[in-house]
Subunit: 428 residues, 2 copies
Amino acid sequence: MSTPLAPVKVAILGPGTVGSEVVRLLTQEAGDLAARVGAPLEIIGVYVRDTSKDRGPHLPPALLTSDASALVAQADVVVELMGGIEPARTLILEAIASGASVVTANKALVAAHGPELYEAADAANVDLYFEAAVAGAIPLVRPVRESLAGDHITRILGIVNGTTNYILDEMTRRGLDYDVALKQAQELGYAEADPTADVEGHDAAAKAAILASLAFHQRVALDDVYCEGISAITADDVIAARETRQVIKLLAIAERTGGGVTVRVHPALVGEDHPLAGVHGAFNAVFIEAESAGGLMFYGQGAGGTPTASAVLGDIVSVARHKATGGKGPLESNYAVHEVLPIDAAQTRYCIRMAVEDRPGVLAAVAAVFQEHGVGIEIVRQVPGQTHAGLILSTYAAPERDLRATVEGLRASDAVAEIKSVLRIEGE
Amino acid sequence: MSTPLAPVKVAILGPGTVGSEVVRLLTQEAGDLAARVGAPLEIIGVYVRDTSKDRGPHLPPALLTSDASALVAQADVVVELMGGIEPARTLILEAIASGASVVTANKALVAAHGPELYEAADAANVDLYFEAAVAGAIPLVRPVRESLAGDHITRILGIVNGTTNYILDEMTRRGLDYDVALKQAQELGYAEADPTADVEGHDAAAKAAILASLAFHQRVALDDVYCEGISAITADDVIAARETRQVIKLLAIAERTGGGVTVRVHPALVGEDHPLAGVHGAFNAVFIEAESAGGLMFYGQGAGGTPTASAVLGDIVSVARHKATGGKGPLESNYAVHEVLPIDAAQTRYCIRMAVEDRPGVLAAVAAVFQEHGVGIEIVRQVPGQTHAGLILSTYAAPERDLRATVEGLRASDAVAEIKSVLRIEGE
């Protein structure tokens, strides 16, 4: 523990892009940061696996250590930028046990072990901040935890994966096919050689679990998050969406429903006038609906060394200020208030695009399938086709399980030649 | 001062729409708020001028008092929702002097006397929170003060007046004339019978002063804010903007330039792909550019009793939590770091729409005026006209004073029949 004018001792775990940028900013902005914290910040060491490797001018050899536990034991503030579950989890628990506050940017760890870490921090009366783990540079944790502390969040819709937003945006703006847009994203460095974690929604699912936990004080395991990616989206889907003034976005959704909370990731149709529709390129945005505040949106860069370092530094200033002057950030308590429900319980709207037989009575046959499952049809559009007629139907909101059963019924119907796509409509 | 479990005593000044909504929420959410604060919140009284008037079920007569000073003297937290400069200013200073923390939604007061109030709060070691004074429900103060505490903001562009955004949005989306859109806004309650404060930019100017103060730790007097409204914007301006994929927005801009800070409010051309272009209706949004974080945007409702009450309640929870458990929000210190410069020093880009004589040599004559003042022309578009040719020119960035001199030179030129409009281009 520090007295107000003694330096706050900061340990950095992980010398990657974000870590070295954080060290650079801590060094270059030392005077300004000391004024904001109320005490100087002293970097007491940077944990690396291999201390002999040259790390550039911001990480001189004298700062480096390969003994993470010894470093953590001396720190007031531990900044974990290693990624992965272990040894990050153990080192953070050691830091908390020794009375240090913790800042982490580790999405995988917070998604998988957040509640365990929050509880340890609460018990030790130290801070655990993780702004950079949710949506990179976008300030989200403070607004949700503090600004909305007297309000009730009912729903969060997030564009939380830049790679997939870039791909969908290129498909929308340039009419590209999915494969072409993915290849372009890989060439530009927006997508990795193996893009699975992004395009199949796994990265977004981890962030959805953290968002749900923030919004609803809710323990959400990654396995509770329903997850569907964008690899099945076609140029035709994008064109059909545009015809009804909608765009396709991959959304992370956490929603309070009657009996509990549902958390899901899937592509969705969003109206062109919705602020999420204006999120282009690799940017991220999180749209929050709250009872009193109404709709709020937070937009910015969701990844990248420098933007992420900005979020990490904001957290360092907050927890160091608490160390220097007393006080502590808001508690994460009251867990498990709501039950986490499977996606079957979610109320959604479907837009179903299909090819149907071109003969009388087909529309009646299709409508009968919807009626059988209690799903209301809001809009039907017929579009000309080659061998079959095209039909695009938008439903009213209905339980996901009934919507799925309807699609199964359509697949089994003689009137339907092919289900071309099924997209949920969100943001209304 | 309260011990952790003793109630935090809250005094409400002003029983208007926001005040009664705040009282309703404090009452209905008492259990939840107590858990978040760490102590119960007790409303010890509501100051009203006339205690005999019926204020509805949320403000029973027993809570009402007409002695504001006596009420303030007993409170741990004073919530000022009266509006106007006096007696609000004096009561807030009394509250601070007696050791109470203060929450205010009073835009006019914070714009005019913010620095005096911050200094008094710092000296007394109490909190002064004013989230609702900047942009209604949008969490902005915490992100700027805390999340970006390790970063440097270079520019803020804000749509901070819902009335003018509604009018401009209707002009853009429905092709309405200004007068028609204004009348419609008045009929729907978005604009007042006397719309001057909104349409001439005075309301936005007060918010611009607060934003500049937040972003740059800068004392900005309202008189330092250059202010131009939207009443001169025509349907033709909107059409010309659309032809170059731009929209017109009234922006509050605070910008760090070489020698200091400029703060201004004026209509501006914003590219259709900029997130500010997707802000429709009476919504507000603030776009922040920071050195490390890059571009961030915060979107939501800028006015209205319930959204504003949400922001006030978030502040009450924060300051009450500090009262109950120790600690204090971040200081506002280090004022007057930059000089506030007149708009002449700002670097801007102009889009000039004019009617010119339809004869050879006109373009050369026009170009000579730009060259004389050292202003570069980026794009020239010629559009057909009846008696005159139309010319639309976009400049490169140049000092505002040179751009103005160029426009004066064009007005004086024989080649130019009429300057139809001059709009600045922002957000690039």
